[in-house]
Every structure is written in C-alpha cells, then in structure tokens.
C-alpha cells in the first residue's frame, strides 16, 4: 500500500492506463509540460511523449471533437477539461456527437472516450470554477457518468473508465485532490469494485445518506457526528451517476426506511430528484419519511465569499437527517 493524494492516485491510474494500452492518449490544455493545473497528468508527457500526452489549443469543443475522431481511428483518448465551467463549449460535441455515435452507426462505432472534469466548489475560486454539471450529462442517453471520492477509487475508476467501450464523463472532486489515503497500486483491476457499483462507506440502521464526489467525506463526517448522538447513519457513495446502482440504494433504504440525498449541485432537476423519485416508486411502503435532499440552491454558483452558505456542510446534512428522523 502507498499513501497517495487523490490527484496522485489519478496520475498513477493514468500512467497505468498509458502503459497497458498504446492506444491510450491524453489530451487537454496544459496537460503536458505543466502536468495539468491540478498536476493530475504530471510527468506523463515526459515519459510517454508529445504524441500521447497532447497539449491542445485552447478550445474545449476542439478537444472533444478531435478526441471523437481519434476514437474513430482506434484510439482511446482521455480528455481533460480544465474546470467544470469550461465544459460547455464542448457540450455539443459531448451530447450531440460523442453520446450518439454508437446509435447513429447502429453499433458499428464504439466511443471509448473519457472526459475528466474537476468539479465542485469550496476552493475559493472565481466564477466558472466551482460548478457541478453532472445532471446535465446523466440526463443524456449514451453517456456514462461517474464521480470518484477517494484516492483508492480514483486509481481504479480512472483505469476502468479508460477500458470502457462507452464514453465516460469522469468527475473529480477538486477540493479533495489533496486528500490522502492508502492505495494498493498492485490491485488487480478485475477484482476492484465494478465501475457501475455504488459502495457503502459507512454502515448504519436509522437512515441512508446518499452522496458522491466531494460530499462523500462530508457525509461520512456527518455520520460520525450523528453516531455520537446515538443515530446510526448508513452512507453510500454512489460512484456511478449514470447508470445509477439502484439495487444498492433500494436495499439500504428498505432496511433504514429513511433517505437523505446530498450533492453540491442545485436540487432542482438534480440527481437527487431522480433518485428520490425512484426510491418512492420502488420502495414506497418501506419509507417512514419523505426522501429529503440537501444541495445547492437553484441559483448560479455564488461568489466565493458566500460559497460556504451555498455548499452543503456537516450541519446542513445533520439538519436534514433530523428532519427525516422526526417523522
């Protein structure tokens, strides 16, 4: 086992992917010499060359559009979008092209393209650097959407995403890039938790908390705090946002009877709404309380001096837990 930051774990995962398959290519702005603004691709261009780790012109649609062309030629591009708010110039290429080419070709084409997006707030950044656009992609058939929350998952999930024959939108919790944990770099990928599976990160009996990306740590901390008050929270890291691992979610909620869903994205039209609807539909008679959501307000992301009020934190999670348990 090696202690790694989440950023370094991604770096090691990408390195492994580049080593394992000569068709893997990394492309994005500043991913080469600089190693990415979060250093996720640090040292990769030096070791794998400029043809495989490509510093691209500054145009996000161009990054994804040319990645599609490379994939058509048999390559497996991993694109870096530098910040969440910069993905929108590439939105057409992702949603109208990347997601749809398999269907358009009646299965003749596969699109093994990964698009890495650092997402979420909490780093005191200027506008467009703190957003959570995952629901926009989860709403799009043909894409897979995942979010890692820990160094260990970062290491395996990025490799699994590169292996996926379907396009993967890979969300990285930017404020957790420097979180450290033990990572088993020799672990066999085939034995890792499947990319489609959620993971129970804290077991409990009173209420199920669902989270992903940066909110997983917040929710685990909330579970510890609640435990000190005698409340047993189960925390599930969803990991896969499309498709959702509803089997794991439903099994937990059937046991606990209560559920709180936490994400940084606005609650209106967010993934929490989708999950709540499915829980209500599929285990209505097990519910002791309405499914509650904790998330961003239905506003644009605020200036950073206000972000602590916008972002769900331990207290807001516990507030929702209290409300759910009051039924």
């Amino acid at each position: 086992m090696t202690t790694l930051t989440l950023s370094k774990a991604l770096n090691e995962g990408l390195r492994k992917a580049l080593e394992d398959n000569p068709k893997v290519i990394i492309m994005g702005e500043d991913v080469g010499k600089l190693g990415g603004v979060f250093r996720v691709t640090d040292g990769l261009q030096k070791d794998f060359g400029e043809d495989r780790v490509i510093d691209t012109p500054l145009a996000e649609s161009g990054i994804v559009g040319t990645a599609i062309g490379l994939a058509l030629r048999g390559y497996r591009p991993v694109c870096e979008i530098q910040f969440d708010g910069f993905v929108f110039p590439a939105f057409d290429q992702i949603v109208s092209q990347l997601a749809k080419l398999r269907l358009r070709s009646l299965g003749h084409i596969t699109m093994p393209v990964v698009i890495r997006i650092p997402f979420g707030g909490g780093i005191g950044a200027v506008e467009h650097h703190s957003e959570s656009p995952e629901a926009l992609f989860a709403h799009t058939g043909g894409l897979r959407v995942v979010a890692c929350s820990s160094p260990g998952d970062a290491y395996t999930m990025i490799q699994q995403s590169v292996r996926s024959p379907d396009p993967v939108i890979f969300f990285e919790p930017k404020r957790r890039y420097w979180d450290k944990a033990e990572v088993d770099l020799s672990a066999a990928l085939d034995e890792a938790t499947p990319l489609t599976a959620a993971r129970t990160v804290a077991q409990g009996t009173d209420l199920t908390v669902l989270a992903y990306g940066p909110m997983v740590r917040t929710c685990v901390e909330a579970a510890v705090a609640a435990g000190e008050e005698g409340r047993s929270l189960e925390v599930i890291d969803l990991r896969s946002l499309s498709p959702l691992d509803m089997d794991t979610v439903l099994a937990s909620v059937r046991r606990t009877g209560r559920c709180v869903i936490v994400h940084e994205a606005a609650v209106s039209g967010g993934l929490g709404a989708e999950i709540a609807a499915r829980i209500t539909q599929d285990c209505f008679y097990h519910l002791e309380a309405p499914v509650l959501r904790v998330g961003g307000f239905s506003t644009p992301y605020p200036p950073s001096r206000l972000e602590e009020h916008f972002l769900p934190d331990l207290d807001r999670v516990l507030d929702a837990v209290d409300r759910a348990l009051a039924y």
Partner: protein, 385 residues
C-alpha cells in the same frame, strides 16, 4: 466589381455579385468551361481517358437521378425530408473520385454524390431521411463516415481522425488522408474554425472541402464572410484554393493534389468549391421567399452535367448509344431506390434500446423490459377478444 463577384477585401459585395462569372476569374481553377471546352491550368494538369470521362459523366447522371427520385419520394410521403444536391454533383463526384480506398471522408447530410463514389448503397441514405435509422452504415467499410447534421461538427472528427493517421505512422509513402465536407454557412461555426487551428498546428493530413453553394438556407454568403472563403485558409496557416465547383474535372484535379499533399505529410488544404444550390435547402424549404429566379437561371447555364456531355459530344468520345445507356441505367437505379424505399420496414419498437451502449446498462434493460411487458399487454388483450 471583380469578375468573380468579389471586390477588394474591404468591399462588401451585394447579392447580385453571386451571379458573377466565376468561371472567368483568374483565382478560380477551371478545366472545363460551362460550354464544354477543355482548358488547362499550369498547377493542375489532368489527363483523362475517354473512358474515365464517361465514367465521371455516368456518376453525375446517376447521382442526380438518386436525388430526383428522393425528392419525389419525399413528395409522396415516403421520406420525411430530403436534402437535395442538385447543382453540386460535380463538386461531390470530382472530389469523391479523387479519394483512395484507404482515405476517409466525413460528410454533412448532403453528400449523396460522395456516398455514391464511396460505394455506399443510396438506399442506406434513404433510411436516414425516412426515419428508419440515424444512418446505420459502417463508416470503416466504405471509408465514409456517417452523415453529421449539426453544422460543422464533423470537421473536428475528421481532424482528430487525421491525427490518428499521423500517430499510426500512415503519413508519407502510401500515406492516408482525410477529406471533410461542409458548406459556406459552416465556415462561421466555432467547430470549423477550431478544426482549422487544430489541423494547422498539428499539420494533420486533412483536406477541408467547402462546397460554397452560396446559400445557408436563406442566408447569402455575405452574411458569413466579407472575404472569399478560400482566402481564410491563409490566416490559419495553410493553402486555400478556389475551384469551379460545377467543373468535375477541376474538382477532381484540385482534390487529388490536395489529398496527395496531405498523404505526403504537407498538412491541410482548404478547397472552396464555388457552386450553387439549385434546389431548396431541403424539401421543407421555399427558396422563392429569399432569392431571385434570375440567379437560378444564370447558374443553370453552368450546369455540371451539361458541360461534360457537351465535351463528350464535341470530342466524339461518346455517341448517342452511350448517353441512352446511361439514362437507362439511371432509370433502373431510380426504380430500385424507389422500390427499396417503399418496402423498407419500420424497426421493431424495442430497437429504441439497441446500440445506446456497448456494455449492458441496468437502467436501460429495466426500461426495455417494462416497455416490452407494456406492449405485450396489448397483444394479450387482442387474444382475449
């Protein structure tokens, strides 16, 4: 006003300029005049045997027949929509016949003539316009990518594909190259400009083939550009050339040279094929609302088929029996296309769920099962009755 319809770069030409005598412009490569006279160009020597010219003529006629038949099929309710290539046959056949078997073409939704040159059965095109599929052919089989409907998006795919050719070491001797088609309107798209930049800085083996048919639905070229389109290439750092898009010889020669340069590792070329959309944008469009009949009449005199026919007659390379034979072949092709379209079955309802993902997807499988059960419930009701 300059004879090609453009004044100095600072002048904004008016709509009437589009009727300019493109053929007599020194900037425009032409090898066959509208009257069917063979002319030469120092940079584009072209030797064609009589058989090769006849083959090009046959392509032009057959492609036009596919188009005519498809318009009729739309009018009769067999197709939802059709995007006519009328007037652009030479640009498409000339460029399409310049491609080698290992080259790759990325079309818009109007490249029926290129599809023909790449050996794709026109019936496959009708599947898209009938609504049976979104395309569905295998791009690798024909070296012909799927139709892309979002304007200009395919230019980036083509450029990325060309970057793949570079990484495969397939540039140089026996090299491969990519051609990507788009229109005058597309030159305003961000994706197209990004593709120019990418292709330029990576020296990608891609030819940008712009069919300037003067109209982006109702918007004239003046709404897209103040300078001739081919001159834009210089700003991006690669050569631009304007060719008479109604001259199949010139389109063939210019595209051949550009593709060979790309294969050899000399990077991208921008080709502006100066042509005219003789028909509506699509079968749902009404061009009488935005352009003058006189403009159409002027371009009819530059018809891409008539000039080849005139050349064949003038040189004695083809006799009446040849022309009758081609017409008969076109009639047979038209009938085959018509019958295939009329008898094309709708997909099964559950096909909605096919080919969305390569890997199994639990949520989609659940939806498929639910929808299948729902459909079956009607069948059971019918049995009960």
């Amino acid at each position: 006003m300059a004879v090609d319809g453009y004044g100095a770069a600072t002048a904004v030409p008016g709509p009437a300029s589009l009727q300019g005598q493109a053929g007599s412009s020194p900037e425009l490569v032409q090898l066959l005049t509208p009257e069917g006279e063979r002319v030469t160009h120092p940079d584009y020597p072209l030797e064609l045997t009589a058989e090769e010219v006849k083959a090009l003529y046959r392509d032009l006629v057959l492609v036009r027949r596919i188009d005519t038949e498809s318009i009729a099929l739309q009018r009769q309710g067999e197709l939802g929509i059709w995007a006519s290539l009328l007037g652009q046959e030479a640009a498409q056949v000339g460029s399409g016949r310049a491609l080698g078997p290992h080259d790759m073409a990325f079309p818009t939704y109007r490249e029926h003539g290129v599809a023909w040159c790449r050996g794709l059965d026109p019936v496959k095109l009708l599947e898209l316009f009938r609504g049976v599929s979104h395309g569905g052919w295998d791009p690798a089989e024909h070296g012909f990518h799927l139709y892309t409907i979002v304007i200009g998006a395919q230019t980036l795919h083509a450029t990325g594909y060309a970057m793949g050719i570079q990484r495969d070491g397939a540039v140089g001797e026996d090299g491969q190259a990519v051609i990507v088609y788009f229109g005058d309107g597309a030159t305003s798209q961000g994706d197209v400009n990004e593709a120019f930049i990418w292709a330029s800085v990576f020296n990608a083996p891609v030819v940008f083939f712009c069919q300037n048919n003067q109209w982006a639905i109702s918007e004239p070229l003046e709404r897209q550009s103040r300078i001739p389109l081919y001159q834009r290439a210089r700003g991006f750092g690669f050569p631009g050339i304007r060719v008479d898009g109604n001259d199949v010889f010139a389109c063939l020669a210019v595209t051949r040279k550009a593709m060979q340069a790309a294969r050899d590792g000399q990077g991208p070329t921008f080709i502006e094929a100066f042509t005219y959309r003789m028909g509506a944008h699509t079968t749902t469009d009404d061009p009488t609302r935005y352009r003058l009949a006189s403009e159409l009449e002027a371009w009819k005199l530059k018809d891409p088929l008539e000039r080849v026919k005139a050349y064949l007659v003038r040189t004695g390379a083809a006799d009446q029996a040849f022309f009758e034979g081609v017409d008969e072949e076109a009639t047979v092709l038209g009938k085959r296309v018509r019958t295939a379209c009329q008898t094309m079955p709708d997909p099964q309802p559950l096909a909605i769920f096919d080919n969305v993902y390569a890997e199994p997807n639990a949520l989609l499988e659940a939806e498929r099962a639910q929808f299948a059960a729902y459909l079956d419930s009607f069948a059971s009701e019918e049995v009960a009755q």
